[in-house]
Amino acid sequence: MSTKKNIYFCTKFRIVNRQVIMQFTRALFFLAVLVLIQPVFLTASGHAEHASDSTESTQVANQEPAQEGMSMKQEIKAHIQHHLQDGHDFHLYTDTETNTHVGFPLLVILLDDGIQVFSSSRFHHGESVAESNGNFYALHHGKVYKTDAAGTFEMHDGHVHNEKPLDFSITKNVFSIMAFALILILLFTGAARSYKKSLVPSGSARFLEPLIIFVRDEIAIPNIGEKHYKRFMSYLLTVFFFIWLVNLFGLTPLGINVTNSISVTFALAVMTFVITQFSGKKEYWKHIFWMPGVPVPMKILLAPIELLGVFIKPFALLIRLYANITAGHIVLMSLIGLMFIFHSWIGSTLSFGLSVFISFIELLVAALQAYIFTMLTALYFGSAVAEHEDH
């Protein structure tokens, strides 16, 4: 009897297991295809026309040097720099021969003489001057400047000295953050709803449950402790899934790289900092300013260093995430650029293979950075709420 039952369970488990593995391989295959498509997209040269109104704009007087005049290396460098920057429009690719851009515009919101709101299609990818309520604006290296009708920049030793309006635009990063926030809300409310019906997870919960349990059992409980971890779980889960999702989408051909922007990682680190300081208990502050068990001259010497450490910790957090993702993107794009520099059968094939390999490494780094950010955040929270009875 019992052996029969065992066999039954075994087969059932195997079927369920196979389904899970099938789903997992399908997801992996999807990701792999996305990563593989990336180099193809970068070389793609379609002939799509960019639809936009050119009635209200005039040509910028001092344009960037024509793209034909640039060498291959300079072009690749410019391309990488453009990729790392936040932009006022979603830019998928440019056909340099016909000078057409493929992408879609976003909203520009400027605080200058009241609020100026217009579509970024008026900039024509930085080639034209945009007019709004009698004011003229032009783009220079992705930043908005106030200009005259002809769009002249006052250049002094390589720097633009035009007036800069306060820019509250929905840029590429802002748009992506909103989109990802919406995706996360939908995924997690869906998962939460499925638990109201039955305790067996269904839908998105089937995929999210092991990850949530991983964050709880491997990150929150060991670092914060059984007593206090529940208060911080919502923040830790949000940070983990946000960074992971954003990093993964940074590898798709959409050209989104939210964690590439130091402002985004700065905001994340500031949140961690504020939560740590406000949940700091008596013991936490005591260990910073008047640590027990240390002679008094040493206490006076150590207190400023400890105080500095309070600020260095979140600073290291923001630099780590920003630098890792930026470095990964630069390496990946440089390897793709090498294909065009080698311009030979063997060299290009090698760098193509290498770029695919680095893409897979980046998939790992995307998850690893989310894990490390969450882990260190939990560590700081843990130190803030720790109670040292053993002193």
Binding site: E218, I319, R320, A323, N324, L368, M375
Partner: protein
């Protein structure tokens, strides 16, 4: 003769490489000695490596 800043950054990166290499190697030894403590060792290894990595990035961004 002036030494360019990038040389200093290179030296820092060598130091960071040695540091992370030592952490990884020691973690390997520890896991081989106590395979049942793999999870704890990996966590500690990643935290230490991440902290050292931060110094490397600081050097690279100072250039």
């Amino acid at each position: 003769m002036e030494i360019p800043a990038i040389v200093g950054a290179g030296l820092v990166v060598i130091g960071v490489g040695i540091g992370i290499g030592r952490i990884g190697g020691s973690a390997m030894d520890a896991i081989a000695r106590q395979p049942e403590a793999t999870n704890k060792i990996q966590t500690a290894m990643l935290i230490a490596a991440a902290l050292i990595e931060g110094i490397g990035f600081a050097a690279l961004f100072a250039v």
